[in-house]
């Protein structure tokens, strides 16, 4: 996990930037809280206003930590997918993980219209959404794993993932068609993504799952580097392709699945961050890339969240709008410069 020595200074700079972004993110928001009170809240001293302490400790701090987990997790799972499929346009959701989650959530929110009665609405609590999204992701992931153990060709898995995505999108559209406006709105809002809705308990569960995913990703560094040489060559070097593939898919599933469950389908980060990192480090060695992607992903997500909070106003913008505004130009730029891309 120790990055190459030559990158040490770069890493130190990035870590300092990350810390600065973290502090900035916590100190900015709709409500203007003096610096001193922000620090006081964090260290547990008495604050002038009770509501400020609540805002810092129970809202902004979990939100910032969520942003870090989401940014790093999506970045890493995007990197894993790009390497596994040897496709620069793969992202964490190519396996249909987010569409699976969307289907779970759609069945919960919109399906209640079909099941009938307003009692179904009561299921749509915080945990209801998380469980539904997780179940959806796990179901799709399980199918992909099943298929990947039978299919020789990695590209086939990519296509199958996309197909799952199309199927779920179709079911969601049928559900939307029959759903009342109010429930449709809830579903749409879920699709915008949200970082600021996790209590400390939620965050604990979320981070445990994400850390397990991260550890699996770190275990996958060696096979990932071997896979860069192409599948056939990797086989001749004695790499067990199927086993590595399962490990990589499992790591991605845990990361992308838990993120989608807790924060909604966050767009573009998973696709854009690995490319940005490669451009900056001029390497394709995962030993360097993984820690770098973790740091970059966290920074970008914190910055996006700070912007989306529109500091000083009462309003917020959906986080997905901001990530896409940053992510989309990157993707366009990638397509235009594809020949020169380091991949």
């Amino acid at each position: 996990m120790t990055p190459n020595k030559s990158y040490k200074s770069v890493f130190i700079v990035i870590i300092i930037v990350l810390l600065l972004c973290f502090v900035t993110n916590i100190s900015l928001g709709s409500v203007l809280i003096p610096w001193l009170d922000t620090i006081k809240s964090l260290v547990g001293a008495t604050v002038e206003k009770e509501s400020w302490r609540h805002i810092i400790i129970d809202y902004r701090l979990p939100k910032a930590i969520t942003a870090i987990i989401v940014g790093s997790g999506l970045g890493v799972s995007g990197l894993l997918m790009q390497t596994l499929f040897r496709n620069p346009l793969a992202g964490p959701f190519v396996l249909g993980i987010s569409s699976g989650a969307s289907l779970g959530v759609a069945l919960l929110i919109l399906g209640s219209a079909l099941i009938g009665g307003s009692t179904a609405l009561f299921l749509v609590s915080n945990w209801g959404l998380v469980i539904a999204a997780s179940m959806g992701s796990v179901l799709v992931l399980f199918m992909v794993m099943l298929v990947s153990s039978r299919v020789r060709d990695t590209m086939a898995i990519l296509i199958i993932g996309l197909m799952f995505g199309s199927i779920t999108a179709a079911i969601v559209s049928v559900l939307s068609y029959f759903a009342p406006a109010e429930q449709l709105q809830r579903y749409v809002f879920w699709g915008f993504g949200s970082l600021g809705n996790l209590s400390w308990t939620d965050l604990l569960i979320f981070s445990v799952i994400a850390i397990i995913g991260m550890i699996l990703a770190i275990f996958a560094i060696k096979p990932l580097n071997t896979l860069l040489l192409g599948e056939n060559y990797a086989r001749s070097l004695g790499l067990n392709i199927k086993k590595s593939r399962l490990l990589i898919i499992l790591a991605t599933g845990l990361l992308a699945g838990s993120i989608t469950a807790f924060a909604g389908p966050i767009a573009f980060i998973g696709l854009a961050v690995p490319h940005l990192t490669r451009q900056l480090f001029h390497t394709s060695d995962h030993k360097t890339l993984i820690p770098a992607v973790i740091l970059f992903g966290s920074i970008i997500m914190l910055v996006c969240d700070t912007i989306s909070q529109l500091p000083g106003t009462e309003y917020t913008l959906p986080i997905n709008a901001i990530t896409s505004l940053i992510g989309a130009p990157v993707v366009i730029w990638l397509l235009v410069r594809k020949r020169k891309m380091l991949f």
Binding site: G29, F122, N197, S199, L310
Partner: protein, 379 residues
Amino acid sequence: MKNYIILLLLVASILSCKQEKKVVIPISVEKLEDQKIDYATGFTIQNHKTYKEISITSPWPDAKSTFTYILHPKGSEKPTINGKASFIEVPVDKTVVTSTTDIPMLEYLGLENKLIGFPHCDYISSEKTRTLVDNGTIIELGNNGHLNTELTLELAPELIIGYSATGDIKTYDLLEKTGIPVVMNGSWMEQHPLGRAEWIKFVGAFYNKEQQADSIFKKIEKDYNDAATLANNATTTPTVLSGNMFKDVWHVPGGDSYVAKFLKDANTNYLWAETKKTGSIGLNFESVLEKAQNAQFWIGSGSSTSLEELKGKNNRYTFFEAFKNKTVYSSTLKTGAKGGLMYYELGPMRPDLILKDIIQIAHPELLTDYEPYFFEKLN
């Protein structure tokens, strides 16, 4: 088929029990002044010698065109009119409505028997009309307010009272082409609570029940204004928070909205009364906490049935004083037999009850023997 005949006989026998005077009632047009409309801004009724003219000016947000309906007695010649209008022979009999808000209006006018179809009957809560649904008098015509075109055509009503939230009226246009008159109800666009109730005059016009509609409305208007006057005498003006969160965005009713008007008339200090919006506003959680942490009442907390459930949905609700002091009230807990919300059905017709409910919550000393009708305290 046998059952069908029995059912027909049954219905026929029930109908024949009613002692209907078989007299064609001409339109009362001795006084040719326009119908007085005091609060509603979305419709006008002009009385002419041989017909009535109803104009609908704002059936949905940013509507570009005005709808004109010419109501003339059954069997009489169509009057000649300049401009585009739909002609409807009145009093109409077999009716289809599409919004539950029309159900109490028909009931108050004693016209629930005119109703023959409704899209998504489960939404209907009123027991009187529910009985008609359960015994098959009122036919199911689709779901979620989407009229099923074929079923509606087969039913062939004499009038459809429709509404549109977006201005997409393709289904209605098609029905109108087949000769079924469709009128647009824009009552939900009214921002004054009494404005919505006043649409009973619009509904009544199609059945020649203007006078009845007028007296029903006058009573509601008087009760509302009396309650508002009573609230004005209160010595305190408690602060009020409203709406609820989805994820970390809190949706509060805008300062020009229907809900805000009630809170104002109940002599409370709604914390977002200054915002110039008729819809709801999505606000950042922290700004809401900063502003409303010490609000005395939280009125209109959504569909959660208990404080525990609110907490389960979002732990951050517990930071509010209103939550700690258990002064959280919801209007959407009272449901009909099939889960329809009473507040949405009867509320627009009875703003006086909504206002009294809020006064009873905010100034209990003013209404000592009043039992809230829509609002319930969360425990």
